[in-house]
């Protein structure tokens, strides 16, 4: 199975698990004319069923755990998970609380981390490049 087309047509579902919105607006910014990731075939979709990539932000509060898992399940294979922002990666400023279950990689497997608080839009694009490299390596590994 070739991942060639897959990697150049990544549809993204954005999932906020309790972030501060900072990362979320930068994710949106990535779609806008200045950065325009649609040129890479990336689209934001409204349903995880259509998604290839889950963009997760936020430190995962307890209420969100089942939802995060369900969305992960609803996303058809093959899929990638990218965590945007340090609070999703390691909790960031929210590292200690009575209502946290994160970080994200404690709940679902994560492929690419995008550190930053929030990362610049280019950093998010860079993470896409990293994802491509990962996919290409996986493909080489298979063949």
């Amino acid at each position: 199975m070739s991942l060639k087309a897959f990697k150049r047509a990544l549809w993204v579902y954005h999932l906020n698990t309790g972030s501060c919105n900072g990362c979320d607006i930068e994710i949106l910014a990535v779609l806008t004319p200045r950065y325009d990731v649609e040129r890479f075939g990336i689209m934001l979709v409204g349903s995880p069923r259509h998604a290839d990539v889950l963009l997760v932000t936020g430190p995962v509060v307890k209420q969100m755990v089942p939802r995060v898992k369900r969305i992960y399940e609803q996303t058809p294979d093959p899929k990638l998970v990218m965590v945007v922002g340090n609070c999703g990666i390691e909790g960031g400023v929210f590292y200690e609380s009575y209502n946290l279950a994160g970080p994200v990689d404690q709940i679902i497997p994560v492929d690419v981390y995008v550190p930053g608080c929030p990362p610049r839009p280019e950093a998010i694009i860079h993470s896409v490049v990293m994802a491509w490299v990962k996919l290409e390596k996986a493909e080489q590994g298979v063949s």
Binding site: K62, E90, G91, Y95, E96, N99, Q106
Partner: protein, 178 residues
């Protein structure tokens, strides 16, 4: 509507509440270059006269703005401050008015004011779930922020044994707890 000075407001509280009026203070500072004044007014009343005090505020302005109820765990008692702002809509005239009531931990009850100020509902619900203060007569008893499965009888803002149970506290992996 007549705009009273802070001092006059304190006087009007005294006349309206009589004995139930406990204390009041005015905080004032000067801002920026023109040194205009930023003032806030803090009034403390007895719990019994709490509703009268709110009623009185409603007479100072028809729709006083209730910003939030803050609550502090002072050890033996819980202090609630109802943060009002009045006289808004007038340049430089607005006042922040904190209405302070102290509740002994043995009797954590406060009457609702949603009948006077419908918008007080959210903050009353929050106070109820976060501090464990029972708001008597609140029209919507549900929790506001805390999840369904949050343990009964635990209140995040309490600093005593009723605070969030230790096993709930979670320090994300990689950091030691404080």
């Amino acid at each position: 509507m007549e705009l009273l000075t802070p001092e006059k407001i304190i006087d009007s509280f005294k006349t309206a509440l009589g004995d139930s009026f406990i204390d009041a203070k005015i905080y004032q500072c000067e801002v920026a270059v023109k040194k205009n004044k930023f003032r806030s007014l803090w009034v403390e009343v007895k719990k019994s006269a709490f509703r009268d005090a709110v009623d009185h505020i409603c007479h100072l302005q028809q729709y006083p703005h209730l910003a939030i109820i803050s609550s502090s765990d002072l050890g033996a008692e819980v202090e609630l401050i109802y943060h009002f702002t009045i006289y808004y809509g007038h340049h430089l005239e607005e006042l922040s008015l904190g209405l302070r009531v102290k509740l002994p931990k043995s009797d954590l009850k406060i009457p609702t004011i949603t009948d006077l100020i419908p918008g007080a509902l959210f903050t009353e619900r929050e106070t109820q779930e976060m501090m464990g203060v029972e708001v008597v007569g609140i029209p919507d008893k549900r929790r506001l922020f805390l999840p369904e499965d949050f343990p009964e009888g635990a209140y995040p803002w309490r600093k005593d044994e009723k605070g969030p149970p230790n096993d709930m506290l979670r320090v994300l992996p990689g950091r030691e707890p404080k």
